[in-house]
Symmetry: C2
Subunit: 190 residues, 2 copies
Amino acid sequence: MKLLKEKIIKEGRVTGEEILKVDSFLNHQIDPLLLNEIGKEFQKRFSNVKVTKILTIEASGIAIAAIAGLHFNVPVVFAKKVASKNLDKETYKTQVYSFTKGKTYDIQVSKRYLNSEDYILILDDFLANGRASIGLIELVKQANATLAGVGIVIEKGFQEGGEILRNNNVNLQSLTVVNKFKNGEITFKN
Amino acid sequence: MKLLKEKIIKEGRVTGEEILKVDSFLNHQIDPLLLNEIGKEFQKRFSNVKVTKILTIEASGIAIAAIAGLHFNVPVVFAKKVASKNLDKETYKTQVYSFTKGKTYDIQVSKRYLNSEDYILILDDFLANGRASIGLIELVKQANATLAGVGIVIEKGFQEGGEILRNNNVNLQSLTVVNKFKNGEITFKN
């Protein structure tokens, strides 16, 4: 996706060989028009599969999934990381380890909003070690729903998440795949 | 906003006199098409003021703000509640007490994404006691930015947040204002 690659090159900030910050347009400040193009692109890439619902995880997946939802014309559900008094007691639940936050946390979705008739498309901003995606896939399994695929804005091609999902026959569509950063430079696979 | 009121009546779940759950379309599962109409309505209501940026708070404000951002054609920033390794060290920061979570937490925005030239529109799903909005207004002040207004999807007319903001001459636009729930019934002010 050319527009996205240009934005990453222009505004992405690299630290060391592995950290890419894109918080000027993707996960702290958001560029809604870019996200609209990203939503369209996901819709194009998953146009050959049935999708009845989009699933993501708070917080940085929400904007991407919500705007993509406009193009798929389906409800969007975001898994919650923090227990809230307002969350239903009956939830699908699993644990995810976050390297960014340095801890394990529960992720939960109310049983009202995932069910066995659903065809679920998982969307997220980054795919690195794959823990968040694997956790969301686990929630899809608990609900006996069908996994339609996983759509990722930026895959870190040098970490294992992409390989794990592809080896498990997940229909993974990454809009960009970045290589390890040498001398602060951002390059893409293919 | 008629469509929104109908949705609240149809899908809102009331507990006691004060709790309204709208997690089937607003803050756990999201109805993107409704949020699109909400975004348009905010744009209409704030069309007479200058807005250069939308500010909200994770997690449930993000979808609303992101889709509204498409209609305002401005960047959207969401304040973060949890410290992350990926957040800049230089932030605007304040504390907010959450009645829903039962605790006080820091909210932060990187100094990169709010500045003195900005005209900030704050958007959020609920206005109850006003703590989150007041916290976001404090971040706007720290940045020496101008507050363009506050847009709320559902104001609880029986809690003090709305009064506090109006008494402080904030340009507050609530798309709906609900009364205290008697016998589980949802009614609106005006």
